[in-house]
């Protein structure tokens, strides 16, 4: 975004107190953790205010000022509290140096409309901070799990050794547990056996039906759609209860086939939704053109239609796969000990004796979901590109 507003340097009376206020805010927390909140506020405000003044009025060169502050704060941190405080100090130093110049140069106004009142500018940034906090809330649990999984102790919090970045505080033992324990490995194998089979079933049935549903004239379209989407809407516990009752009547309860069928049913709505969405942009004249040139319907499907809707089919398949791979309620009821999947094993672990091995598994799953997310995102872009290329 280009600069909207011409910027100018701000008077000392504006930015020094602002930086001092930020310093007081941080000082409050550091102060309370060290015993005295009021002292923290005072020291924080004075240090930050003085720093802002010195950097902008005496040092003036921004690059020098920033590195000098980072270094100084890091050294102070190291002296006061060892390695964790060094990191914290460096971050604080970087922040205050940046904040001082950002305010001093008036850079904060550059990208917002020139007619805003100072109150509105303040609200603009407060709002961004709030949004940032919410995004932090979204991502923190996932980020916290990852370092905790390398904990050398059987604790679920950061040990002092971990915080001081002592290599002894970290270990791969939970991963070793995971890869050597027969219970976990058995669960992984069950998941690997069940999820692809369920995905295959839901993708093949789902794609056919999605093609049928996207025809122009489909009788009872709404009703059929409602039935096909229902596994996604009905609460899992109800699906699980119904399947448990019904599958034990017909002898599928506790069998591999039963679990696969149940998971396939749960994955189908995702396939239907993604493939129908791709088919909305599909140009029907292409199939007619293919037929015109002498291709039979099967050839047309595999050579013309399929390559174009493939991204949708694959991302639907990924959704179905993740549904099955991540599913625990239904397998808990429909499966028996022989079909214990990874989520099931995690669930038992969480409910009974929680062991840090779960965090190692969680980290591995997070990495897998990052990969899947990337694939889906790439597919979506490819699909949009293909659609853009097709005429009409």
């Amino acid at each position: 975004m280009v600069a909207l507003t011409p910027i100018s340097r701000k008077p000392v009376g504006f930015y020094v107190p602002t930086v001092a206020a930020a310093g007081a805010f941080l000082g409050l927390f550091v102060g309370t953790s060290q015993g005295s909140g009021i002292l923290g506020i005072l020291v924080g405000a004075i240090v930050a205010g003085a720093l802002a003044f010195v950097l902008t009025q005496i040092v003036k060169n921004e690059t020098v000022a920033r590195w000098a502050t980072v270094l100084a704060f890091a050294v102070i941190g190291l002296l006061l509290g060892g390695i964790p405080a060094l990191v914290l100090g460096a971050i604080f130093g970087w922040f205050f140096a940046w904040f001082s110049f950002w305010l001093y140069e008036g850079r904060y106004r550059a990208k917002i409309a020139p007619y805003l009142t100072p109150g509105q500018v303040l609200w603009h940034f407060t709002f961004r901070v709030i949004c940032g906090a919410i995004l932090v809330f979204l991502i923190t649990p996932i980020l916290v799990v990852i370092p905790l999984s390398f904990n050398a102790e059987n604790f679920f919090t950061f040990t002092p050794k971990m915080l001081s970045f002592d290599p002894e505080g970290y270990s791969l033992k939970h991963y070793r547990d995971f890869f050597t324990s027969s219970a976990w490995q058995g669960a992984v194998w069950n998941s690997i056996k069940i999820a692809p089979a369920a995905t295959l079933l839901s993708v093949s049935f789902g794609t056919l039906a999605a093609i049928g549903l996207s025809q122009q004239h489909v009788p009872f379209r709404r009703a059929i759609m409602a039935i096909l989407i229902s596994p996604m809407i009905v609460p899992l516990i109800i699906s699980a209860a119904g399947m448990y009752f019904f599958y034990s009547r017909v002898g599928l309860q506790g069998t591999y086939l039963g679990v696969v069928l149940a998971h396939a049913a749960l994955g189908i709505p995702f396939v239907i939704i993604t493939v129908t969405a791709t088919l909305v942009g599909f140009d029907r004249s292409l199939t007619r053109a293919a037929a015109n040139m002498g291709a039979n319907p099967v050839t047309t499907f595999f050579r013309v239609q399929m390559p174009l809707i493939l991204p949708g089919v694959i991302s639907g398949g990924l959704f179905a796969f993740i549904t099955s791979f991540d599913e625990v309620v239904v397998v808990l009821f429909v499966g028996s000990a022989g079909q214990k999947t990874l989520p099931w094993q995690m669930f038992t672990g969480l409910r009974e004796q929680i062991s840090p091995t779960i965090l190692a598994v969680a980290t591995i799953l997070v990495v897998i979901s990052i990969c899947l997310l990337t694939v889906v995102e790439l597919l979506r872009r490819r699909s949009e590109r293909l659609r853009g290329m097709s005429p009409g």
Binding site: C131, L135, F156, P235, F245, P343, A362, L373
Partner: protein, 555 residues
Amino acid sequence: MSDTVDATNIPGEKSGPMLAADGTPLKRSLRRALRRQKMSALLLIAPLLIFILITFIAPIADMLFRSVENEIVQDTLPRTTAILETWDSESGNVPDTPVFKALYQDIFIAQERKLHTRLGSRLNYELTGASSLFRKSGRGVGDIGEVYQDQFEDMNAFWKKGENWNDILGSDAWLAEIKSWKKASGQAQPPFEIRAQIAEILPQTAAFYQIFADFTQNEKNSNLYKKDPWELIYSAFYDDLTGANAARIDTYTGPGAAELSEAKAAAANFETVDYKAAFGDIDKDWLKMPIWDTIRAYSPRFTNGYFLNAVDMQKSENGPELRPENQRIYATLFLRTLFMSTVITLSCILLGYPVGWILANLPARTANLLMILVLLPFWTSLLVRTSAWKVMLQQQGVVNDTLVWLGIVADDSRLALINNQTGTIIAMTHILLPFMILPLYSVMQTIPPSYLRAAKSLGATNWTAFWRVYFPQSVPGIGAGSILVFILSIGYYITPEIVGGTTGTFISNRIAYHISSSLNWGLAAALGAILLAVVLGLYYAYDKIVGIDNVKLGG
């Protein structure tokens, strides 16, 4: 299309319907093409539709059926329930001896088949103590029958042997077959056939003996010919000998005719059994009203009892009534589920709205980058997120540690963030937040930013511009997201189970408990049916507001 129009449209052609290339009328040809299109569409959908109907809809239907199905009482106590229909329950009197006799016969057969304990646990859901009552009675009925058995056997040892009974009761053809049959041969045992004459003169004995024969041959897989009869047969035999048909016994000419006449003569002087008193001896609860009211109330094949139970009511003489105060749990649980789902939905709106706004108003590149922060939790395994919260919210967890370090919370008064409602609300808000942000974002993207600027240039304050111009346009997004989050949260099971403790659990946890621990499947099905009705109502609303075709996944 009328002929005149045709004639004017196509001058020179003879008037008549428009024709397709092959000579059929165009209208019909078009209709046929349309029908073929519809058929091919249906054919493509059919496999999946059948698949879903079998693997998903049938189980749901089965669950709904189970919530009203109640065959066990009638199947286990067929004779008792039949006679009980004529019993006047309002008289306040326990039923008469014939009912107790039928009860004796039913329980005797049930305990041989080991079904009486199942009936006991079924009735125990309605009346505490029924389970032990039936278990006790199952042990006691043997003694009742022995009274007659002993008298017959003391009179003539002939009646001790299974062979003798079979010789009298079995048809000649069957007797010939069974005598030559060997278990070791591996062939199926020849099914028992009653002697026609006996069926006429000893109807009750014959009826019960057939049940006994069927049970011995098909369930026990033992040789019927060698098997001594149940005690029950002796009491039926006594009833026949002293009953209305007794006079015809002397006309019998088959095997054992002499013993039969002797038995008839002796039976008149036998000591008799008072069934009512005998059951009173087993347990005096049989002489009280509650058990009879319960059996009668639950004897129909279908019952609304599970549903009444699910809304904290019970059957009584004056129709359904509320349970006593201390037994009401489900209303609280339903209300709690609704309340917590509402709180979760509201906090999702509160947290999701600003994020949706900023994603919709930032330049596309930055927005896409921030979108990853929303999509990553969305794609991460539910159990990973739940375990992360379990780890973070513990007393010694990361959140408490940080708060203690910052001095906000004293070390000895760490916050209880888990195993209560707070834990469930925090974790589920986090888990369901992407489902709120994504629809909000897609709606907010379509609101032109110039509207806000126009409002402001017309003199609106920031707040007025937002509240009167922007917010109304974003309401569809809020609606879609809220219903989605509400539907998902109302049926959640995993997260409340792990972080909810006892006060933060939902109705779904109770359903799971009834399926796997208390085994009261009917009640679980009824609770599920109520929950399903609520969700389907919301689903209908969602379909009306958003349209199920417009569901989008992953932005």
